[in-house]
């Protein structure tokens, strides 16, 4: 395990060091100390390395991540895991707004709560939140799975496409064209796998599935009021 003091050595040096880490070497585990809410920590990584950030992070931690496993031992600022392609981000505390925005792949786990717009425009990422998510979560979500073990705020899944949403608690309101759906065996299977990967002991049977009603896909004059 190599330790990097962010306050002493700066952000550019950190991201450079992480981005050139050779996955074949025996030094693929990093600990970042003195995060102090800094922006853009561990962005653009593209190797199966492990990074643990001590303390809370600011905007865009783990953005564009490929392959790496990033653990935030604190809370995460806005836009964490934005446009992630693969790999894993684990947030021990809470996550701020637009977690995993536009992310294409990988897994994001939040042990606390996530704020508004969680998974906005998600394009294949899986997000598991142990607590609650805020309003407008999964807005325009296109694919992937959003699992919420607590409650969801207003307008869940507004204008969504083919992403799946699993909520164990209450949903304050559903967004336009988002509806409750039947939980079939294949969904129980997906959920069982995601809960296990996220270290969550909730039972898949306790969840309700939501998804697109597919009424806003194409323009239809009868739907004008819903656009």
């Amino acid at each position: 395990m190599q330790t990097f003091d962010l306050e002493q050595n700066g952000l550019r040096a950190l991201n450079k060091a992480l981005q050139v880490t050779d996955p074949a070497s025996n030094q693929t585990a990093w600990e970042v100390v003195n995060a102090r809410g800094s922006h853009a920590i561990a962005v653009g990584l593209d190797a199966p390395i492990e990074v643990t950030v001590r303390g809370s992070t600011g905007y865009y931690c783990g953005g564009m991540n490929k392959q790496a496993t990033i653990t935030i031992d604190g809370s995460a600022g806005p836009g964490t895991g934005e446009n992630m392609m693969s790999g894993k981000i684990v947030i021990e505390g809470d996550a701020s707004q637009y977690l995993g925005a536009t992310a294409h792949g990988g897994l994001i786990v939040v042990k606390g709560n996530a704020a508004s717009r969680c998974g906005i425009s998600m394009k294949g990422v899986d997000i598991v939140v142990h607590g609650n998510v805020g309003h407008m979560s999964a807005f325009m979500a296109q694919s992937g799975n959003l699992v919420v073990c607590g409650d969801a705020g207003d307008a869940l899944g507004d204008s969504c496409y083919e992403a799946r949403f699993f909520v164990r608690g209450k949903v304050k309101s559903l967004g336009a064209d988002c509806e409750k759906k039947e939980m079939r065996p294949e969904h129980i299977e997906i959920l069982t796998r995601l809960l296990a990967e996220a270290g969550c002991d909730a039972k898949p049977e306790e969840f309700t599935r939501y998804g697109s009603a597919r009424k806003l896909y194409n323009f239809d004059v009868d739907n004008a009021a819903a656009y």
Binding site: R36, G37, G58, G77, P78, Q97, S116, M136
Partner: protein
């Protein structure tokens, strides 16, 4: 983009350090708002006395003999402390209205930054660190304070466009965001006899809250009505004589983080602003909910 910081002290032993802590928080928010900065500090309450903070573009002329001229006009002794472009006038509480009217005649170029029993507002154009140095903000003591770093989007970079804005006796408002209906609201307020000096959107919000309170609303009620009447993006932090309040618009895209310990309640646009506060590692840290009015009072 703008930066907001706020600190409400529960532990009296921290009061001598209020200015120092707020300055550190304000400077951390420099890259959210490098064009101007301001701070409102709530200091000691002297029974029977009030404070009027004014600003002048030409302080050498405007503040020369101000104490004598004002004392003659209101028949009471006043003291004037000049700090860079600002002057804090200490005067008997019951002479406030008279003094403000007299000032308009005596120093037409001077602008009132704040008025009240304990509030002082300082704001200027420039980097937050430079502004804090000019007004010696680290030396200020008090029970609570609010700071703002501005990146102008809606109107010019001027002293009067900087925050905080005074909304009444011992009250102020800072804003991160932009209001889209400030022109129509400005016209509406003008019809009600409320004048707004600049093109700035936040000044309209401040005038709106003042107008609501003049018509019988409490600050909390005025903020609640703001949810219906103010269109746009905002995180507001308001200061009162006893404490401060926070309100985010229903969309809540402007960031806000709060921290509370036995010693203080702190607000920051980002967590970065809070990292040097004592005991932050064990503080309860959370984001205020949208469309919810929060208040802390002594």
């Amino acid at each position: 983009m703008c930066g907001i910081v706020g600190l409400f002290l529960k532990d009296k032993s921290l009061e001598p350090k209020l200015g120092e802590m707020l300055t550190d928080m304000l400077i951390t928010m420099s890259d959210r708002g490098p064009d101007s900065a301001g701070i409102a500090v709530y200091g000691d309450d002297h029974e029977g006395f009030a404070k009027l903070t004014i600003q002048a573009a030409d302080p050498a002329t405007a503040f020369e003999n101000l104490d004598k001229d004002l004392a003659a006009a209101i028949n009471e002794h006043v003291t004037v402390r000049v700090i860079d472009t600002h002057a804090v006038i200490d005067l008997p509480e019951d002479k406030m209205a008279e003094a403000r009217a007299a000032l308009k005649e005596l120093r037409p170029g001077a602008r009132v930054m704040s008025a009240g029993e304990v509030i002082e507002i300082y704001k200027e154009v420039g980097l937050p660190g430079d502004v804090a140095k000019r007004f010696d903000i680290p030396k200020l003591t008090g029970t609570h304070g609010i700071g703002h770093t501005r990146m102008a989007t809606e109107s010019a970079v001027t002293t009067l466009g900087a925050h905080p804005f005074s909304t009444g006796a011992d009250q102020c408002l800072v804003h991160n965001g932009s209001l889209s209906n400030h022109n129509s609201l400005r016209r509406k307020l003008a019809r009600e006899g409320v004048t707004v000096e600049t093109e700035n959107d936040t000044e309209v919000a401040a005038a709106y809250l003042t107008w609501k309170m003049q018509n019988g609303s409490t600050l909390g009620e005025a903020l609640e009505s703001g949810l219906n009447d103010l269109d746009g993006f905002y995180t507001f932090v308001v200061g009162t004589k006893d404490g401060f309040g926070v309100l985010r618009d229903p969309i809540a895209c402007k960031p806000a983080v709060m921290a509370e310990t036995d010693q203080y309640v702190a607000f920051g646009s980002e967590y970065r602003a809070l990292v040097n506060l004592p005991g932050i590692e064990n503080a309860r840290v959370w984001e205020p909910e949208p469309a919810t009015v929060y208040f802390w009072n002594h």
